[in-house]
Symmetry: C2
Subunit: 354 residues, 2 copies
């Protein structure tokens, strides 16, 4: 077995979810993630845990929509809930064969299923859990790479000394929380927000792998200024590029995009919360070399910031409510991040690297 | 999707397990059985059931043995039990990537796991459940066929009118139970046993697919005579061929094999029950064209009988106890099956075909 798969499994089991003797573990894996599932199952057993493996499959999900009437979509999966109640740790290994399998399913029906299974989702997210990907041809293709290159890409992003990275991320969180505002400056960009009484979260690989960001929910009405997002992103099946937003009293008052401006307009019109920022964040993972339009990776890109239109995370004390949460990313190599009177990041260096 | 996969799924869901609205269903599938899992999930949804899919993997099983100490093997999977308690139907889709993945695991450790999970196994076998295979290159290779030929082989065996076959099997059960003994006659063969107060089971596709046999547990001490098993079979990793057994008062008093006689000897010496018959049965599935050394298929071959050394099934009122249950098969094209004064089968025809 590729030693990097073993290393990946060790991080997920020993660091991210801290599996210990007697833990009940559910591994969720696509068929294409089988090899990582083998490594994770071995590592869980080494830690003294008891694992079972569920099969994730977008094709199975789609077939269920195809077969079920709406009443069937509302049947609550008691057996899945019963398992969740007895489970300590979820380890999710994504490697979709086909990322577009649900493209032609009516979004309303997807919402019915999401509503039906919400109590299970809410329960699982209170447990120890981690989400990662296993490199596959499908994901490599989506990222414009060969499989061999994509493997390097994934492992460069994931196989870090996370104990050490965690220290840096918590140091940054402390510095950010010692101030009452945040400002992103750079080419075509000067965006300000109050962060008073908001919490910054150090995302240090406990729930996502790869990880590496510090994020908060800005005080909704205080967002002022403009920002240019220069990293393309995928939303509603479209690649949106070169987004420029202008904020006054927390609301988008002007916008443009170099590609798919009409899709951006649709997003902004979904609901009131969609015109406000639910998240402001700083990416720190320098192992991620470039964007791949997979948000699990892109939002953690080192030397970037990102903002999300829409839903704010309650764990940050955010209150903005929306049906959407759309992340947009900006490179900061020529920019600065300032909190209060402190420079958090300037031209390629975080404060702790000085 | 191959229409035969759809048909296979319909039989499993609508006939074998009779899934109905509100049923909680667990699909267990190897990664190589993914396509059949898609079809089964759709069919369960059509019937109004709620399905989740578990991944079966011999490689994952082996990795768990590799990682776990003996204490970990004894950790009871509470989460799997909790799910089982809330599940109505299990549908098991086997398509092993590697049938030898557990070949080098200490059998004692496999016994520990079997003992640990026995309460779950016992619970599941009280539910509606069915076991089948999905054609794969691995299974085709084991059966000495191309994948294309193996697909034909599997679907010829499974895609029957099972309602009709069930009627024939139940008719045969009634005839057999109206007599008090059974006799297999043919070249080098004349084997007699009392079946008084024993139950004949009509295996009509409710638990196995393919299916097609009627079986009982003979009265242990009454088995007399000799039999020549002319179909090779796989046991303990060895292909055993041309077994001849002689019985007196229920016990094997003489034996030989054309190939692997020493393995046969080992089997007979495992325990006292291993020298007695736990099962006598009549295979009826003419859709299975030839043996493939996969017992799920071979024991149902039309125009055959089979006997098993070792454990008897309690549901037949059998009492023979043993750690083993080794099925051996005999072609009956030139033979006869007689119950009391009735000819059940003679030279290519079952009584109901006359």
């Amino acid at each position: 077995m590729d030693s990097r798969i073993v290393e990946h499994a060790k991080i997920l089991v020993d660091y991210s979810t801290e599996v210990k003797r007697g833990d009940m573990v559910v591994i969720q894996a696509n068929p294409d993630a089988h090899e990582l599932a083998v490594a994770v199952a071995r590592q869980v057993a080494k830690a003294g845990g008891s694992s079972v493996t569920m099969m994730i499959s977008e094709e199975i999900d789609r077939a269920k929509y195809d077969g079920a009437d709406d009443a069937t979509l509302e049947v609550f999966p008691d057996h899945l809930m019963a398992m969740a109640e007895k489970t300590d740790v979820y380890i999710v290994l994504r490697s979709p064969v086909n990322t577009k399998a649900l493209a032609n399913v009516d979004p309303k029906r997807i919402m019915i299923t999401a509503k039906t299974t919400k109590p299970i989702f809410d329960l699982i997210t209170k447990k120890r859990w981690v989400l990662t990907v296993h490199p596959s041809a499908t994901l490599a293709q989506q990222g414009n790479m060969s499989l061999e290159e994509y493997r390097d890409f994934v492992y460069d992003a994931c196989l870090h000394d996370w104990e050490k990275e965690s220290k840096n991320l918590y140091m940054m969180k402390e510095h950010l929380e010692s101030h009452k505002d945040i400002r992103f400056c750079g080419p075509e960009t000067d965006l300000y927000a109050s962060t008073e009484s908001r919490i910054w979260i150090a995302a240090d690989g406990k729930f996502n792998m790869p990880d590496g960001e510090v994020f908060t929910a800005p005080v909704e009405d205080t967002v002022e200024g403009k920002i240019y997002f220069d990293v393309p992103f995928l939303e509603q099946g479209k690649v949106i590029e070169g987004v420029r937003l202008k904020f006054e009293k927390g609301e988008v008052v002007d916008f443009s995009a170099e590609k798919e401006e009409s899709t951006l307009k649709q997003i902004l019109e979904i609901d009131d919360g969609a015109r406000r920022l639910g998240e402001m964040a700083i990416g720190t993972n320098r192992g991620i070399k470039h964007y791949t339009m997979n948000i699990l990776f892109d939002e953690k890109l080192g030397d970037t910031v990102h903002c999300a239109l829409g839903m704010a995370f309650p764990e940050c004390n955010g209150v903005n409510d929306s049906a959407i949460h759309v992340d947009m990313i900006k490179r900061m190599h020529d920019g600065e991040i300032i909190a209060g009177n402190e420079i958090i990041y300037s031209k390629g260096k975080y404060f702790y690297e000085k």
